[in-house]
Structure formats: structure tokens, C-alpha cells
Amino acid sequence: MSAPTGTATATEPTSRRLVHRVVSDEPMLTVEDLRVQFPTDRGDFNAVNGVSFTLNRGERFGLVGESGSGKSTTALAIMRMIKPPGRIISGRILLHRDGGTVDMATLSDEQMREMRLSAVSMIPQGSMNSLNPVRRVRDHFEDSILAHNEKATKGEIAERMKELLTMVGLPLSAGKLYPHELSGGMKQRVCIALSITLAPSVIIADEPTSALDVVVQRRVMETLGHVQDLIGASVLFVGHDMGLLAQFVDRVGVMYRGKLVEVDTIQNIFAAPRHPYTQMLISSLPTLTERGAFRKARSASDAATAANIAASTPGTSS
């Protein structure tokens, strides 16, 4: 295994691992009793209803659940990006960094702005459109860096961009391209490079591979894992694809209707899912050996879950 050099060549990101990930028991991000509320015509709705979990240093933690389960809202709440009239009504978002602990829920807007990208970064959902169509890739790096360090020179920015593009396995010439000149996977890797511009402690990836085909999906995930190892960050991965998650995360939290119903290591979740919703999620995965397993596995607990869903959704009966 030869160590990759810092040259401009596009190297396969994960073929040779430089750094091995160290997962410790030391917490990096602790979310305690997080509640996000949206006022509606039919009363207040808690999209996130008392979610607590801990993300350890160097760990990959997956948040999984169906659409509307509150997993993306949880991610946005950590970034303090909930749009009014929605708001965080309670909870603590503790970031353990530089020997101290900050509760991000209590920071001022300006303090929180400084935290974004430098301490916690997020690769947003639908990254296909996450780059400004009229600005070149290098302008995006410039904007991100200048927002946190107004004194950064052109040379410093160009230098940093080179490092970042190499880290995600893109050629340096990508800097001068416009987003529409990049493929979907390349765009996504640019987004990953942007998210680690300031070497944050936590990277939140909100379904970063939606709308990509499986081959590109795999490479994007490898890139994400690779850069995580390089900068030693923790990753909070939000998604709904249990198969994808199984290959990537260490632990997983299953969200259902705004609550975290089950948290365990990925092995335990697959081996012995406790919550009926988790069981349903796993049984929904297609398998090679059991065709139509989903239909066959419709057990009593599945039926209970289905009835539960039906009861809470007006206008359906089963």
C-alpha cells in the first residue's frame, strides 16, 4: 500500500486509507430532549418530540425513518435552521469541543452563524441543486471561507480549495467549472468538500445520495467516509435506506412520528429489532433468498403498526 501523495491526480478516495477511524466513547454532540414545534390550524404539531441521543467522537450515527418522521427536522434543528413559524421549544444541543461544552440551542444568531461550517456542517438534502448555477465551484469555496475569515487571501483560499478537491478525489481543474458542467456525483463531492472546508467536528449528511444511482451512491458514501477519517469528525447520517445505512454507520436511531423509538448498534438492530416499526423497516428490504418476504412477514406486530398508522391518519381504513 503506497500512501497517496498530495498531487493533483484524482485518486480513488477509499482505495488506500491513510487514517484509520478511531471511535471513542467520548461524546462529541449530545442532544437532550429536543422538541421542535410547528403551529398549525389544528393546533401545535411537534415534528420532533423529545429526541435524545449522543454522537461520539469519530462515530457514524444514522437517523432513519420514513418521510415525515422528523429525522430531517432534527438535523435542521441541530443547525438551528428551522424556519419560522416552526421553532425549537425545548432541549439542549451540546457540542463538546476544544475541551469545553457549548449549548447550541442557547447561542445568539450571530454566534450560531459562526458555528455553522466551522464546528458543525451540513450536506443538505437534494444536493443536486445545492450549488449556485451562476457561480463557479471556486467561488463557492471563496464565499464559505470569507464568511468565517474576512482576511483570507486569494492564495490561501486557492490553496485550501486544492487540498479539499484532492481529498474528495476531484481534479483541481474542477474549480473553474460551473455546476452544470459537473455530473451529479461530482456535484455531491463538491458539496462534501465544501462541508469540510473549515474542518468541523460534526458533519450532518441529510440523505446525501438521494437522486444518485447506486454506483455513484457508493462512491459518494466512500468519499464521505474518507474525508471524515481525514479530519477526524463525527458524522450524523440522515436517511431512509436501511441497506445503505447498514454499510456505513456504527449505530442507528430509528425515528417514528417525531420520536426516537430505538437506538442501537447497526448489528443489533438488524439481528434483533425490538420496535415494530424497526422490524417493518428491516423486513421491507428486498432479499435475494426470500422473494416477497415483506408480504410473508406481515406478522401481528406489523399489523399492529399498520393499524396504529391508520388510526392516526384520518380518511384511511384497512
Binding site: A10, E12, M79, M81, R113, E114, M115, R116, L117, S118, S121, M122, P124, G126, S127, M128, N129, S130, L131, N132, P133, V134, R135, D143, S144, L146, A147, H148, G169, L170, P171, S173, A174, L177, S183, M186, C191, L194, T197, V215, R219
Partner: protein, 304 residues
Amino acid sequence: MDLAMQVEEQLVNAPPDSGLRRRTTWKYLRRNPKLVVGALMFLGLLAFSFLGPLFVNTDEAAPMSAMPVTAPSREYPFGTDDQGRNLLAVAVVGLPLTLQVGLIAGVVAILIGTILGLTAGYLGGWVDLLIRGICDILLTVPGLVVLITVAASIKGSISVQTMGLVVAALAWMWPARTIRSQVLSLRERAYIQMAKLSGMRTPEIIFREIMPNLLPFLAASFVGSVSAAILASIGLEALGLGPQSEPTLGMTIYWSITYNAVIRGLWWWIVMPIALIIILFLSLFLMSAGLDEIANPRLRKADA
């Protein structure tokens, strides 16, 4: 996967084909004849007003400098008026003055409109409510009545610059409304979310992320504002509320009406300013429509 990577790299590293870019620009211009024809007409008018003084004695734009009431002839191609002005000289001097009024009003209107539109659209909430409210209320006010009142209340003779500002005073609401509506759509784009997630400040997001996306739209509405301002200023001048001592196109119409040019058969007196105004508006309209096609690709026609 390695193969895919290599192909990708080759694509990215391929030298940009500058010839291709030139060809596509040409092809694009051919598909957008409105912009080309409009711009050429406008350039012709500019050449007329800037090169004109080299061939025409502009002193003859003043009264009592030529034989009065002569029909177009070899000596006076546009004829002369009742007061002894050479109407060709009046056209050469008056057109840039009228353009100046339009440009001053257009620039001021777009500037105010852009700032208010961006602020209202991006910030939303009560700021939006306030700005939109003011715009809506002012839009219901009949502009000409207010302009007449303002123009009439200015003591003494009004200058071309003041004229531009008077017109601008009621010309910024429409740009503000339309720019706001554009921003409402732009601010929901994923890349604005990305900019916020990168910790960019609100002014940075507005001017570095949203503004570049608005440029074609701003160009189109700027041209639109200039023509609206010229129309408003000519309307005021034709009523006699313009700069009395300047031979602008609108003032020429005013004098020709005052001295009963049409009844007395002095048709060339009123035809000159009106013909110039028609050419000017045609060129501005064509440019505005052409720019609109750039800003709004749905208006584009398929490649012929």
C-alpha cells in the same frame, strides 16, 4: 469505477473550446433577433446624437437662428419652426437630453427598486409587509397627476436633471414589486439553504448569491424603466411642465402644439419629435423583449 473516474477526469481536464463559446454566442444572437435589431437601432440613435454635432450647427437649435417656417428642404432637411429653429439641430440637441432624463430616472428607479425589492423579498415578514404596502399604495396613485403637481410646484425653470428625479420619484414601485417576486422564488433555492448552512451573513447571501442570478432580469427591467421614464417625461413636457429653455423632444411637441403647428400645416414640426420617439421606443422595446428572453428561457424559441 476507475474507468469512470478516468473518463470524468478527461472531461474536466479538456481544454475549454473557445471557438465553441464564440459559435454558441453567435448562434444565440441569431436566435434572438429582437435584441440585435433593438441594440442596432439604439446605437444608431446614439450615433445620431453624438456624431450629429460634427455635421450640424447646434447653435441653430436656438430660436431666431434660421429662416422661420420653411418646409423640409436641402438646406433644412427637417424644416424649421415658427420661432426660427433648425429642426435638425433641435433633433440632434434634443434627443440626448431626452435620453438623459430617461437614464437618470431609470437608474434611480432601478436602484431604489432593487434595494427595496431584495430587502422585502429576502427578509419577508413585517419588512416585506411595509415595503409592499407602500408600493401598492403608491401604485394606485395616478402618476401623471402627482408629477404635474410636483413639476408645477418647482419654482422657475426646471432643469433636465431635476426632471429625471421628478419622474424617478414615481417609477421605482414597479421594479421593486417585480424584483421582490423574483427574490421570493430565488430565496427558496437549495443553494441559498447551502449558503446559510455555510454560515454566510444575510448581506453576503443577498449580494453574492442572489444578485448574480438576478442580473439578466435587472437588465431587462432597467431598459423597461428607462422607456417608462422617457414616456412620463415626454408626457410632462408636452403639457409644458418641462425645461422651458431646453429643446428636448417633449418640449418641441409642446411648442408645436402651442403654435398650432398642425392647423397651420407645419406638419414637419410635430413629425420630427414623434418619429424620433417612435424609433426610440421601438428600439427600447425590442431590447427589453430580447433581454427578457435571456432572463426567462421559457420565452425562447427553438433553434431555427
